[in-house]
């Protein structure tokens, strides 16, 4: 029993954090909004070069053979930086799905190798989302059709762009034709792989939401420490202190929940539903509260386009509803709690594994 990350995991995360701080500045994000794709192939290649797309690719396919626990701190940093590139969708959601099939499917095996090197990119569809993010920069799309999972080249689909409140997000509805050639799997395996993908998607969104929450609180704390009214920094006011403290409490208690969910998704994916749902709900609440209390601390400044806060707020509002909104995830927990055999109580925290 050891609920800590290794020194290596922390160190790698710190390096990624510094990298993202330098590369994914608010200025860079604002600039990207003006480009048509909203994405930077150069930045993507840098993310590839430091190994991020390869983290969950099995070693035999040229990857690092890591798991969701290794990646979860990275996903948090992607949120903290409000990274627009689809790293989490690719590395945490898409890659493990392909990896589950790659032993028996040469298409998946080859694609994994090329994702690790940056030669190919993917986007992941799921019925819970309706829209697909970053389909326009993908070479292949993973698309569900009932129990089936298809791998479809982008040339074979028709994309319709949708406008999100978050100018960094690029969402698409996808028209495509189901053919035999693109089918990867179906039946029970399809069901379980789609369920696992949903959990990893929610996990990745939860991690980013927590990073976003901390980023917003950081901005608000800095602003209220600096901005003076009545001759003092506004941050001396207890009301603002308590706004920020409330955010910290939510965030601090969402973290272990997130890490447990990552662990369970890695080690016992079939038991991960409620751990993941708990994480998504807790992280969503933390991020929404951080958005609300941060804009309140900024005052009118926080309501402007030029203040960086909205970059993070809008991402938080969007991710809170992505990969299952709060209702979806609370309902999974509720159904489970109604079951008289649900393992709950003081000795059951890690009960599934015991």
């Amino acid at each position: 029993m050891d609920f800590t990350f290794t020194e290596d995991q922390r160190l790698f995360c710190d390096n990624v954090k510094v990298f993202l701080q330098n590369e994914v500045t608010p200025e860079a994000l604002r600039k990207s909004w003006e480009s048509e794709s909203g994405r930077s192939p150069e930045l993507w290649q840098k993310l590839v070069d430091i190994g991020l797309t390869a983290m969950l690719v099995p070693e035999k396919f040229g990857g690092l053979g890591m798991n969701a626990v290794d990646f979860i701190l990275i996903a948090q940093e992607c949120g903290r930086a409000a990274l627009a590139e689809p790293l989490v969708e690719t590395a945490l959601v898409g890659v493990p799905l392909l990896a589950s099939l790659a032993d028996n499917d040469e298409r998946c095996a080859q694609l994994l190798e090329k994702i690790a090197t940056g030669e190919r990119r993917i986007a992941v569809g799921h019925s819970v989302n309706n829209l697909i993010s970053d389909a326009h920069v993908a070479d292949y799309l993973l698309l569900p059709n009932g129990n089936q999972i298809h791998l479809v080249p982008r040339e074979q689909v028709h994309l319709v762009a949708q406008q999100s409140v978050d100018p960094s997000r690029r969402l698409f509805s996808v028209d495509w034709k189901v053919t035999e050639e693109t089918l990867l799997t179906n039946g029970a395996l399809g069901v379980s792989l789609l369920a696992a993908a949903l959990n990893r998607g929610a996990l990745g969104a939860a991690a980013q939401l927590l990073g976003l929450a901390e980023a917003m609180v950081g901005l608000a704390v800095a602003y209220t420490s600096d901005r003076k009214q009545f001759g003092k920094p506004i941050g001396v006011n207890q009301a603002l202190k308590h706004h920020m403290a409330n955010c910290a409490v939510k965030t601090e208690f969402a973290k272990p929940v997130l890490y447990r969910a990552a662990y369970t998704a890695s080690t016992h994916p079939v038991h991960a539903d409620f751990a993941v749902s708990h994480a998504k709900v807790a992280a969503g609440e933390a991020a929404l509260l951080a958005a609300k209390n941060s804009i309140q601390s900024f005052g009118a400044m926080g309501y402007t386009w030029e203040c960086d806060l909205h970059i993070f707020m809008k991402r938080a509002w969007a991710l809170d509803k992505y990969w299952g909104h709060a209702g979806f995830h609370k309902n999974r927990l509720h159904q489970w709690l109604l079951n008289p055999n649900a393992k709950i109580g003081a000795d059951k925290t890690f009960g599934e594994q015991a």
Binding site: V128, N129, N130, L131, V160, Q162, Q163, S164, V165, D166, R169, L171, S173, K228, Q229, F230, I234, N237, A239, L240, L288, K292, I295, Q296, G299, A300, G302, Y303, T304, W305, E306, H310, W317, A318, K321, Y322, H325, A326, G327, F328, K330, N331, H334
Partner: protein, 387 residues
């Protein structure tokens, strides 16, 4: 206590309803934070003024109808019920107009009120400065008298509507040696005067709903001062007399949003999974209703000669948090569609909830943050110690 409308009140409601049905623009207007939408809304203000519906509580001589507050509430109810356009002219009709009537000279009233009412001259407000937000008395912009003119220098910020408006009313420091709320004066400035620079400030939705205004040796005649020199603070504080606390947000607005929310809820009642949504919808309905009832109560009291007290602080907190809850709840019902702008092909009938959600973020901030309002309630209504 008598909660039945009089026959006259019912007749008035009918008249309002009929006029609005006949006159409301067929197509929704563009946002008044765009040039095009601003002019569309200005035209609508002209239409209203022509029918004497611009501000029904104003005296007839200024284009109003001399209505009492219950009639005003009825007008507002019908206005929002009919989904009539938002009022681009609110700085004029709610803030400056009543102040002008109280403090203006006959010449000022004649010069300004009619053109304000007709929408011919649109007004922006210029109170906050970069160093004077919640602490409004920290104003540093100066108006130095030279002969029959004031020479203005300084900067205003968060000036709503200033990007497209014609005039701005401001507070300047006319006594350079003064401090805090002394030595300030209330002055009108045409936004096309030489030396005025307006810098748009885009808001969350990217549109320039705010502006900064820079004054660089701007000259205005002394007649542009409202009230006495040095009286600016008092005028600004009392601006619209007792009605402002009541009229800043009319309850009808929230009742109609609550109605739309209930409708959205009913439409989605089969796919709602969030166990808190039902409760939130009921709460939103109750609170919108409570706000209306509270306003009727206050209006009745004022009509009997009562004075408004800390109602405006209590109201401000209540409606702004209600507005947030209604829009958050709608977002939760909408789920994956919540982040979409209505023009998105997949948005379907998502409506303008997202716009409303963004706007609701400003509620607890503007017109005095809710933290400041809570201080006021604690200290003035409840009598808790200041220091």
């Amino acid at each position: 206590m008598d909660l039945i409308y009089t026959p006259e009140q019912n007749a008035f409601r009918k008249e309002v309803r009929a006029w609005l049905a006949a006159n409301i623009p067929a197509k929704p207007l563009a946002s008044f934070d765009t040039q095009e939408g601003f002019e569309q809304h200005r035209a609508w203000e002209k239409t209203l003024a022509k029918g004497n519906w611009g501000m029904v509580t104003w005296p007839k001589e200024y284009g109003g109808r001399g209505c009492n507050l219950i009639e005003w509430l009825i007008f507002e109810e019908e206005y929002y019920r009919a989904s009539a356009p938002l009022r681009v002219n609110q700085n004029g009709i709610f803030l400056l107009g009543p102040t002008l009537m109280e403090y203006g000279t006959p010449a000022q009233k004649e010069r300004f009120i009619t053109k304000m009412a007709s929408g011919e001259e649109m007004w922006a407000q210029g109170w906050s400065e970069p160093g004077a937000g919640s602490d409004l008395a920290a104003i540093r912009s100066k108006a130095i008298r030279q002969g029959d003119e004031y020479v203005l220098n300084g900067q205003k910020v968060w000036s709503t509507r200033a990007v497209f408006a014609d005039w701005v009313f401001c507070i300047f420091r006319t006594d350079p040696a003064s401090e805090r709320h002394h030595g300030l004066s209330f002055i009108f400035v045409p936004l096309n005067a030489p030396g005025v620079t307006v810098r748009p400030i885009p808001q969350l939705d990217g549109l320039p709903g705010f502006a900064e205004i820079f004054f660089d040796d701007v000259r205005v005649p002394v007649e542009n001062r409202l009230g006495d020199e040095g009286q600016g603070w008092n005028i600004a504080m009392s601006t619209a007399g007792f009605e402002r606390g009541l009229m800043l947000r009319s309850p009808a607005r929230f009742q109609e949003t609550a109605k739309r929310l209930v409708k959205l809820y009913r439409e989605h009642s089969n796919d709602i999974l969030d166990l808190s949504i039902e409760d939130a919808v009921v709460k939103c309905y109750m609170d919108a209703e409570a706000y209306a009832l509270s306003t009727y109560q206050t209006a009745s009291r004022l009509m009997k000669g009562g004075k408004i007290g800390s109602e405006s602080s209590v109201n401000k907190i209540f409606w702004s948090e209600l507005d947030q809850l209604m829009h958050e709840t709608a977002m939760n019902i909408l789920g994956w569609r919540a982040e979409l702008w209505p023009q998105s092909p997949a948005a379907g009938d998502v409506g303008h909830w997202l716009d409303g959600f963004l706007f609701a973020q400003s509620g607890p901030i503007y017109a005095g943050t809710n933290e400041i309002q809570r201080n006021i309630i604690a200290e003035r209504l409840l009598g808790m110690p200041r220091k």
